[in-house]
Amino acid sequence: MGIPSAPLVTKAFKDLALLNAAKRGMPHERICFTPHPVWGKTPEEVRVYVEGPDPVTGKPFMREVVDALTVPLSEEDKKVGNLSVSVGPATFTDTADNLQEFYLNNGYTDFLPIIVPTEQRVDQMLKATSHHPDDVVGKMAAGAYPAWSYNVRQVAANAVMAGCRPEYFPIVLAIASSGMASLFSSTNSFAFAMVINGPIRDKLEFNYGIGALGPFAQPNATIGRAWTILSKNLGNGGIPGDTYLGSLGNNLNYNNVVIAEHEDASPWVPFHVQKGFKKEENVVSLFRGLGVVPGQVARGSSANENVQFDYQMSDLFSTFTGFFGALIIADPLVAARLKEQGYDTKEKLIDWLYKNTRQTVKDYKSRNYAYLFDYPRALRGDEPWATWYKLPDDAVIPHFPRASDFNIVVAGGQTNAYPQAGNLSYGVSVSVDKWT
């Protein structure tokens, strides 16, 4: 801005704030710290913070704020130029056991065993794509820092580590090319999901039947895991306290939710076709949000012939945040029943869900994410939030801002008519074929 500024940061974010300032080129930024948290404190409690010392330096907080704006800059503070950052040598040499330990201790892994990415194994992986090992694949910023870039060889090393077979490599490249990380710097513990479509599901023997989301098939397991490992190594993510801040963490971050759509058993158009791809194209679609929950417990699920899957899903979604969308993962039995009920297209079901999943303005405003994300958009005049914030408390509004916040995929082994649903938003679909 060119005018002096003083950032006030709560102590929980000390390391983050210092590192972030440094990584963004201002290593001497004058940051003033208050005790953590300020959320949930009364004005009287916060006044004690303001009158008290900075918990990092021990100096009076407000004197520090004034000093930050008025003490003249040193020569160091005024410096311009470039700092280059090292990630170590291109290869490491040691015994297999020592390398296994070395990769783990250096934070290159998810703390589970890897296949050590020897040059030979990486070369095998590289043979599965026509792209040159030095081609730049993309850029990724898993933390709140400038993005890192990476080439085909670097992606291959991560794919080997995750346990991927070379045939899986084009999917991993497609994911990497999206620049979307599966670890995200937020105090929320976000979760990520991918939907796989096209003939590659059968070619690679993805599991979209019994136990589709569980530990029962190599492509589902290793491709999901590769996304997290590459988000750490290529996107600089996943360092707790620095590039990862989720207070509680999320078990889904190990392998991410990998959903190969059961296209043959679905009465509906496959997901990638909805997104404009041809049926025979191989496509990976990425999602982000809070997590996945079972649907068979909600209202409408009762054990009679009138199981109301539409009503059941709507009930489930009432506990979701509308900030993220709703991804329905329907067992083929659920999809077939919904079709019998008259939902012969995904769009018809989405339309019903959008219109019938509703909330009062009062409930909406009491949601944390409404204040955090939607209210500032309303301030800017973005719709529908600007209108929603002008409505009276007892007005009834849709739970999700747009019908396009709903997505539906079909997966499962038809042992029971149960759906799952993710509080997840669609991000992007990427062609896998481009990376073969």
Binding site: A12, P37, W39, P43, L104, D110, L112, P113, I114, A162, G163, N188, S189, N207, I210, G211, G214, P215, F216, A217, A221, T228, G238, P240, L245, G246, S247, L248, G249, N251, L252, N253, Y254, L290, G291, V292, V293, P294, Q296, V297, A298, R299, S301, A303, E305, V307, T319, L333, K365, S366, R367, N368, A370, A411, G413, T415, N416, Y418, Q420, N423
Partner: protein
């Protein structure tokens, strides 16, 4: 008569229970949600497995004379393969994967040397029987397993020898992390006591994520044990969850953040001493995050209790509600007047209500029985759970945000880890 979805299960189960030639007749799947007319059409049609008229087959099953094979008695012992395998690093990695002995992710190969190092971390003999496990009580016979067999799985998961007593404690309970049901259920383990710090477990930022070797490998070893020690986790046979669950890879391993919690630790609530090392088990439907709920955005103080009550609306009362709360939430609840776990559990039990009409539409929720039930009408409002002990609380997290997560899970039991050192 079995619906075709359970064909493999029914055939192998009959065989495993000693009747390999049982005459099973199959109908199309599902029968749930079909009309009378649709079902009668099934009966008039063919068995989808044999292609023969279904009811003719039913009658024949009851009336065709038995063959000598059908009448056989005696015992057979199912083989589990050689005690050791020999190969190259790559071929063994592949062999374990192809034989269904992994979670389809890379393992540490369990060499004699590595297994012996694991065995040194316990005073128990390698051939001591640790326990019995089955993918589902009643449905499959339980297998037994030794200390050494647990050690082999521990090595495979990437666990360090220091973690081994925890894995033995898990094994001793016989709880499978891959319970077979058409529901895709999940398991959780709460770790308490000084061992959390000794093993440098992560109960701070990212506690439940991929950021710590002990958290990651202990959870993963549980799943490998659940596959290898009881023949579980074979999709379509000993695992029937229609959609599966991603939590089953590493399970929920939650070391409690005892030092930042204003409440007594979980194991102390269960009668253990603070310095004892204890693992406590939960089981049920999945886990979700609570910060999207109503009430958390209230100014200036978040109404944690209202958010929690709203969060559990779609939960099944068959299982309880396990809240994993950041220390900031625990302190925040204290500011709101909920000084103990019991106080918040009590409030939630009284204020989380449903109508009888709604309960009737929920597959895994039940209505009160006995005298209480007599005066209820569809419009009656009742507590979702009849007792406050349905609610459990564990403190975990790095205090970057006052958030909680919640699981539709029930407490099962707590066992001592120290016994297995």
């Amino acid at each position: 008569m079995v619906t075709i979805a359970f064909k493999d299960l029914a055939l192998t189960n009959a065989a495993k229970r000693g009747m390999p030639r049982e005459r099973i007749c199959f109908t199309p799947h599902p029968v749930w949600g079909k009309t009378d007319e649709q079902m009668y059409a099934y009966l008039e049609g063919n068995d989808p497995v044999s292609g023969k008229p279904l009811m003719k087959e039913v009658v024949a099953a009851l009336t065709d004379p038995l063959t000598a094979e059908d009448s056989k008695s005696g015992t057979i012992t199912p083989p589990v393969g050689a005690p050791t395998f020999t190969g190259t690093v790559d071929s063994l990695q592949q062999q374990f994967l192809d034989n269904g002995m992994t979670d389809f992710l890379p393992i540490i190969l369990p060499t004699r040397e590595k297994v012996d190092a694991m065995l040194k971390a316990t005073s128990h003999e390698p051939d001591e029987i640790v326990g019995k496990m089955t993918p589902a009580q009643g449905a499959f016979p339980a297998w037994t397993f030794t200390v050494e067999q647990v050690a082999v799985n521990a090595v495979m998961a990437g666990a360090l020898p220091d973690y081994f007593p925890i894995l033995l404690a898990i094994g001793s309970t016989g709880i499978s992390a891959l319970f077979s049901s058409t529901n895709s259920l999940v398991s959780a383990a709460i770790i308490n006591g000084p061992i959390r710090d000794k093993l440098q477990m992560n109960y701070g930022i990212g506690a439940m994520g991929p950021f710590n070797q002990a958290n990651a490998t202990i959870g993963r070893a549980w799943t490998l044990m659940s596959k290898n020690l009881d023949g579980g986790g074979v999709a379509g046979e000993t695992y029937m969850g229609s959609q599966g669950n991603i939590i089953n890879y590493n399970n929920l391993v939650i070391p409690e953040n005892e030092k930042d919690s204003p409440w007594p630790p979980f194991h102390v609530q269960k009668g253990f001493k603070p310095d004892e090392n204890v693992i406590s088990f939960f089981f049920g439907f999945d886990i979700t995050q609570g910060q999207g709920g109503k009430g958390l955005g209230m100014k200036p103080i978040p109404h944690y209790q209202e958010a929690m009550s709203a969060n559990v609306a779609p939960f099944a009362s068959l299982f309880g509600a396990l809240f994993i709360v950041d220390p900031l939430v625990a302190h925040g609840l204290g500011d709101l007047g909920f000084k103990t776990k019991e106080a918040i559990a009590d409030w939630l039990q009284k204020n989380t209500t449903v109508t009888v009409k709604d309960v009737k539409t929920m597959l895994f929720s039940g209505l009160p029985r006995g005298a209480e039930a007599a005066n209820l009408t569809d419009d009656s409002i009742i507590p979702k759970w009849p007792k406050a002990d349905a609610f459990s609380f564990v403190v975990c997290g790095g205090q970057t945000n006052p958030y909680h997560q919640l699981a539709n899970m029930s407490y099962r039991l707590s066992v001592s880890i120290d016994k297995w050192i």
